[in-house]
Subunit: 322 residues, 2 copies
């Protein structure tokens, strides 16, 4: 199966009344630092505070009503959990979310607040997936994949489609898009959205969890056990199969950033763009602020993917940065 731009556009049509068309922000002081015009796609203002709502909603929308009534199901410790809970609430159906036993209380509470059932299972992704598959078989509920699925990819891609369109409305064709990579949902979606254009696709991962960069170098999927990083949303062990097939034919450059870069970008977004990003959500901005993009780019789209961050982390960063 090959996904392409028409699949991305189809997703945008389906989602048009379900997701927020998030604002695209222009911030001269950040442009000055990046030495290029940045077009900041504020997906931290999306439902549940992250782009993940897009893919979850599209998956749920595409189920038959009968299937949907059996409930939505996923395994996640992060924004995808909230996104599936949100989608279930939107459609008025049950959600079961398998979370790790050591999940941060703030994330557990956010999922619970949306009315989802939480099932705790071990501490590893494998344990969570196993339990999720058990529930799927027991209840015939639909498992919504966090990244390695056509509807997830196409749903996430609508963020990039909107960003490109918004720039075009303002008379600008972007030279490049920078997008953070966890399992590859948002980035593979961005690859579809830029298909047939001259927009260069730049990805970014933590240097300690650079499965895409290593896989591109190897020419095949490589599993990379993630090391420590502030970017808790960008810690897959490997990129999705479908995602990699799309990404490998489209990525111009696979960047990495470290925690210092993420902290700097998070604080810059807060003080200059006046918006709260989580460390993962600030990764693309970090690439631009580091000056790691080709100097001839005049207009660059930045996927600011989410804003769900522990207040204590933000307080510490603001105190550190003074």
């Amino acid at each position: 199966m090959t996904l392409g731009l028409p699949d991305g556009k189809q997703a945008a049509t389906e989602l048009s009344r379900l997701v927020r068309r998030t604002p695209v922000l222009r911030v001269p002081s950040l442009d000055a630092r990046a030495r290029t015009a940045l077009w900041l796609n504020a997906e931290n203002l999306q439902h549940v505070g992250a782009f993940k709502a897009r893919g979850a909603l599209l998956n749920a929308l595409r189920m038959s009503a009968a299937s949907r009534r059996k409930g939505l199901l996923t395994y996640s410790s992060g924004n995808h959990a909230q996104a599936v809970a949100y989608a279930a609430r939107h459609f008025g159906v049950r959600a079961d979310i398998v979370m790790p036993e050591d999940a941060p209380r703030v994330k557990v509470e956010a999922v619970r607040a949306m009315g989802a059932h939480i099932v705790f299972a071990g501490t590893t992704s494998e344990e969570r997936k196993k339990e999720a598959l058990r529930i799927r078989d027991e209840r015939d509920a639909q498992l919504i994949e966090p990244f390695d699925h056509p509807s997830t990819i196409c749903g996430q891609g609508t963020a990039t489609l909107e960003l490109i369109e918004q720039a075009e409305i303002e008379g600008v064709t972007l030279d490049a898009i920078v997008v953070p990579v966890g399992g590859g949902g948002l980035s593979a979606g961005a690859a579809l959205a830029t298909e047939g254009t001259d927009i260069a696709l730049h990805t970014v991962e933590p240097g300690t969890a650079n499965a895409l960069a290593q896989s591109l170098r190897a020419g095949e999927l490589v599993a990379v056990p993630p090391g420590p990083t502030l970017a808790d949303g960008l810690k897959p062990t490997r990129i999705g199969v479908l995602n990699f097939a799309i990404l490998e034919r489209r990525v111009r450059s696979a960047h990495t950033v470290d925690d210092a870069d993420l902290k700097d970008a998070l604080v810059a977004a807060l003080l200059n763009a006046k918006m709260l990003l989580e460390p993962s959500g600030a990764a693309a901005l970090a690439v631009a602020l580091k000056g790691n993009l080709p100097p001839h780019y005049k207009n660059v789209g930045i996927l600011c993917s989410g804003g769900n961050v522990d207040p204590a982390v933000v307080a510490a960063l603001l105190t550190e940065s003074r």
Copy 2:
């Protein structure tokens, strides 16, 4: 002279290519706390991080080219200083900003970064104004009033016009607007924008600097020496003359909030709406979150007026609120 809705609409037409049409945010978790649907006008995302850019630009735009070339001038320790500096840079002319000798370095630097000339004069508003008038006479430069001027009022009013229009695009007629009051520029502009509608105008001031509330009670302008408040943008000694004439015929209710309310609203905006507000900019939200609005309101517009705040203040509030 009487200003009305047509003057506000005229200002919107003139400013349409100069100011940002700031996003209007909808945040279910804040709606739940306020028990009403809140429509958050994000003027923290306006040029210079505050609505003040609107009035300054309109003043500058309406000058003759010859007059503008002599330079813009104002006295201010806050966002208005940055706004005038921004307007001068936009039109490529000189700006002189009279600031207090004890102005926070971060604000001085922000004004200087926009290329304005800074003149330090004493520590009181009277000393600053005197020096500004001296410069005006010396150089024949145009003094841009921070609030008590038709163009300033009409310019600031465009924020409320956009908010009302944005809600209407989404099929909603607002029941009320809540707007913070310093000298009365934003609020008098909101009064014009709601003229001829059933939209109730609610204002908010710090309890320690409630010149409007006291003036409305007295039926005439009352000077109120401001006491301590976190809301450094809402500390006038008195409301403008023109502003009061407009406000007194239109304000439904003049609320006050204390520092605890402002802190709560600032943190709620950051963690729930993912946006950074300064304490003054969070005042209107504070009224809604306190539950101080009539319970029959279904849709309420909230003017989130600015986002220029010392990072140390934000860090402290996030740490306190845990």
